[in-house]
């Protein structure tokens, strides 16, 4: 399988920076399998990353790639998509990148329902800077900036995307890699804003401060905590406490932003041609 993915990688950039036991490689593998399945043309696919261990993935990918500023990958991606609507634009981002400094861009991209696919690597922590809490760090967990346990509640980022306007929302874990691949495939197919939350392990900056001894132990935790959305529907909220609900969480039809732009342009041009509106004249 690895051989089949090699054409998508800039192998000359290896070895990668990720720690032993880090889940980022698994998420990246799922993304590449999804791209392969969809037979996306490498030259017509753009991958945009923010800043963080996860976002670093763009450096290893042989597509058109862009390494953006911290938190603002979605703003860069919006610019690319508007300039070149025919390209597939995929965004790779971390939990801190997407929901802390980039939280505003995140909800507004979702609200516009612009045709972008976001793969959010949720490792519950700021990995790259050494383990500070993020808006997705669960309450009570330890981070270098919450040495006494985190007092802030976390976002449910899938719920956030849904209520902001996303038209496709899914969640899986690195343990459930097959499902993760399928969700990414569906996310890319969806013409609109898609969020795929990938729950992944950061043993170095998160696990070891919170009683997980290795990346493997964290995978087992994912296996044990995950509940498929179909099964969760039949469970009480008390039973779902601390569980990770996985699967296709939300899907709906709604007008997509680029097509709205295009129909606006078409409408205005038609009206101008027929003389029913007078375009503003510059002096």
């Amino acid at each position: 399988m690895m051989q089949q993915l090699e054409p998508y990688l800039r192998l000359e950039r290896f070895p990668h920076i990720w720690c032993p036991g880090c889940g980022n490689g698994i998420v990246l593998g799922c993304l590449l399998r999804a791209i392969r399945k969809l037979e996306l043309d490498q030259d017509r696919t753009v991958v945009v990353g923010g800043i963080g261990c996860s976002s670093r993935a763009v450096g290893y990918l042989d597509f058109n790639t862009l390494h953006a500023t911290h938190g603002r990958a979605l703003a860069f991606a919006t610019g690319i998509k508007l300039a070149r609507p025919e390209l597939h634009v995929i965004v790779i981002t971390g939990d801190g990148d997407a929901t802390a400094i980039g939280g505003n861009h995140f909800i507004h991209a979702a609200r516009r329902n612009i045709d972008l696919t976001v793969v959010l690597f949720n490792n519950s922590i700021y990995g790259m800077t050494g383990g500070q809490y993020s808006p997705l760090t669960p309450a009570g967990k330890k981070a270098t900036t919450s040495p006494y346990g985190n007092i802030e509640p976390n976002f449910d980022v899938a719920e956030l995307a849904r209520s902001a306007g996303a038209t496709y929302v899914g969640r899986s874990t690195t343990y459930h890699a097959g499902l993760l691949t399928d969700l990414i495939v569906n996310g890319i197919r969806n013409k609109g804003f898609s969020l795929i939350e990938a729950v992944t392990a950061c043993p170095t900056a998160y696990g070891r401060r919170n009683n997980w001894k290795s990346g493997a132990e964290m995978l087992l935790w994912q296996k044990e905590s995950a509940v498929h959305v179909k099964r969760a529907e039949r469970m009480h909220s008390a039973e779902l406490e601390g569980k990770i609900i996985i699967g296709e969480l939300y899907k709906r039809e709604a007008p997509e932003y680029i097509s709205m732009c295009e129909s606006l342009t078409a409408r205005i041009r038609q009206a101008a041609a027929s003389g029913s509106v007078t375009p503003l004249k510059g002096k």
Binding site: T129, S146, P147
Partner: protein
Amino acid sequence: MKVLMKGNEAIGEAAIRAGCRCFFGYPITPQTELPEYLAKRLPEAGGVFLQAESEIAAINMVYGAAGAGARVMTSSSSPGISLKLEGISYLAASELPCVIVNIMRGGPGLGGIQPSQSDYFQATKGGGHGDYRMIVLAPASVQELADLTAEAFELADKYRNPVMLLGDGILGQMMEAVSFRPRTALPAQDKTWATTGCRGRARNVINSLYLDPEKLERHNRHLQEKFRQMAENEVRSETYRTEDAEIVVVAFGTAARIARTAVDSARMQGIRAGLVRPVTLWPFPDQAIKSVLASCRALLTVEMNAGQMVEDVRLAVAGARPVHFYGRTGGMVPSATEILREIQNIAGVAYGASVS
């Protein structure tokens, strides 16, 4: 008693001892040890630590806390400071005291995480919009990081203005022995202007919006008068072996530490070299530089950037002597040998061929 501490942590400890009870920050290398230290220590000291959702959020939280009368601090490194600039302009305009720490890394853009001094312009020439100034303190050791942090809070309150502590990745990361000022009762802080609830007194207003241009100009005159007083009273610098120096190196922070070694080496080779180290970058110590000109034939500015402070040195010298520049960028640190070579080159010109 001296303790061995990392520079970033020493700033945190000094801030707590100076009465800082509110800190709002966001992680970024190479300053993250400072928020991490305060996350641990502030609750013990009865204060609050909050990791904001961004640098922009943090600086505006600073505005809120400062307006409410708290001693407050934020910290970041170069890209994060760029994000804070709007807030800094508002703080200065609204006359709110606070301490802002910048532990610089190489830029521009995302740059790197290695030490740099390339935010000199940003710190001293405004950075944010509008006519404002802030005192910029440039420590060169862990001890000085601690001392100047304490002083920064006092200056901020004295002038009701933001004060910046400008260090770099080396100062933030290195460990040195440091002693803190004895914990005395904190000097009474005059915060009668703060918005603390106006029952029983006239209303306090903290504001930077003046739609009437006449009023805005009046406000600006008031601010400018305050900045003039800062410039008059708060200049600090250090000179080293300048009494008879023919070649004077000007450098701040980490670059000054290295330059000092180069000055000693030059002296051993018979070159009369000296060093002026600005401790306040704004206000800039023009006088200290002018006062070494009598014996001085040429100056050499050494910076970890492409040449920023050198412009202020040239303004101070006003063409009276040649001002040379040597700098490294991108996180590269000039070595004492490199600086010595520059001194030798300049000396070679000034002394004929007397120095090999």
